[in-house]
Symmetry: C2
Amino acid sequence: MEKNLFIGVDVGGTKVAAGLVNDEGEIGSHLRVPMIANGSASDGLGAVLSAISELLGEGTRVRGIGVCSPGPLDPAAGIILNPPNLPCWRNFPLTDALRKAYAFLTANGVPVKVDNDANAAALAETRWGAARGYNNVFYATIGTGIGTGIVMHGKIYHGRTGSAGEGGHVSIDYRGPICGCGKPGCIEVLASGSAIARRAREKVASGRESLILELAGEKLPAVTGEVVGKAYAAGDALAREVLTESADMLALWLSNMIDLLDPEVIVIGGGAAALYGPFFGRLQERVPKLTVNPRAREVPIVAARYGADAGIAGGAALCT
Amino acid sequence: MEKNLFIGVDVGGTKVAAGLVNDEGEIGSHLRVPMIANGSASDGLGAVLSAISELLGEGTRVRGIGVCSPGPLDPAAGIILNPPNLPCWRNFPLTDALRKAYAFLTANGVPVKVDNDANAAALAETRWGAARGYNNVFYATIGTGIGTGIVMHGKIYHGRTGSAGEGGHVSIDYRGPICGCGKPGCIEVLASGSAIARRAREKVASGRESLILELAGEKLPAVTGEVVGKAYAAGDALAREVLTESADMLALWLSNMIDLLDPEVIVIGGGAAALYGPFFGRLQERVPKLTVNPRAREVPIVAARYGADAGIAGGAALCT
């Protein structure tokens, strides 16, 4: 690979993934280090340092080190606040710790950046991915939960405290099921991968006929979003119903985002985004009908470039 | 008044209101001219010109002319697109028309600006009103409908097409009543002055006991938001129920705005804002419980400075 590379680091609850990312957003030298989320703060830091140091050991000239972490965090100060999935880093000054560890680089002007994963991934899509060429982007990553990032004028929009862009917790159902965050009807509790699985289980449990149970080995708790996707691919009507409902809720939520934010493009990524793959046409058709913005149909709704590597690319993008 | 003043013009479906606004946002020389919304484009323009010319006739040195109009409009180009409440101005280049009419001023660098009413009012509150001293503001005007404006870094946030900030059409009820815009469950169809009246009528019509009907002269269609407010003030339980429900829907919607936009302050104005006056404490208490933003309780929710004059102040603020 080229000499001028960024280090992108993706911190999760069980592992740290890292890689070298070039100017075109191509990722090389992937590596993984185990993370013990409920260990000590310095053990957690140690995992990140070992990943970074291994990448530095390859003798590359590094132009920046970017880390994305579960939130909430304060990106300006580089402090991890109290992430539920990473209890070891309560009020942990990650940027300062990294700057000290790599003083030989930062003294030469190499930036060290920290942000949350969805924000960073939104920026990576804007720099190198599906939103390349755009400056105002709404990005959603749909997995177990739903995270979002807002890019405005080519930069992550952080708001007052750094906690802007939590679109996954925008509710479209004030009478709806209670989200993990305590709020009713967040899009996360309605249309995430877990929500799709939960709604499928409910319908199956009510006695509806479907391939879903068979594909889950006849075990209701084994019904996942992935199973629903497989049943849909096999032509199952119940799976189609669950996914169509989910896509329609997603359409209303995206129309909210257009009416409020008026972005140039909408990018959808994350582990459960594939479930929505067959529904992009439906989204593209329905969203403009649900907006007051007279030009909403011009907004493309596209699949993300990055999949499991979104955090590595995102970390690197923070340094651009 | 001082010599250096802005002209602020508020175009509505039945009248043009205008005034001179000073550096402190104080309004003088109010005047009103009738507007015929479904007349010709030049008649509509004539109403605006007569208001401005009368104000110019007072011999003041004018530092800017700002007009707010019902949307949708393109603020960058100064074109009114196709406002339902102002059919005379379909695709009308208002800014160009004003610049030509007042070429003797614009040639000397006096700006002419056009924007929609909620955006302009949001800016007036930021410059001179309840959000003075803040740079990132979410403003909502609650009347027959609900309009909103977003100020970021001290400027109106317009988005790609100039139609950003349509928060009144952010839905919190995908299974809810259909809004005038065609979308289900917009906050406008749930918690505006008209929505409060509609819900009160529904409850009264179902046979519930209440002062409301008496205050409306025993005529159900005469139940307005104002009547509900009077009944509430007189201790009516049904009115309290309707307003409490409305305030709780508003709280969820505001929590959506905080989780997405993370503003510094929330300002509530408009003709029906007074109905929510007794509920500001409830909003301030509930909104932080409905957000994932860990610092949401720091965001003040305050009443607007401007009432019926918001459009005049807003027009003037566009020139600052």
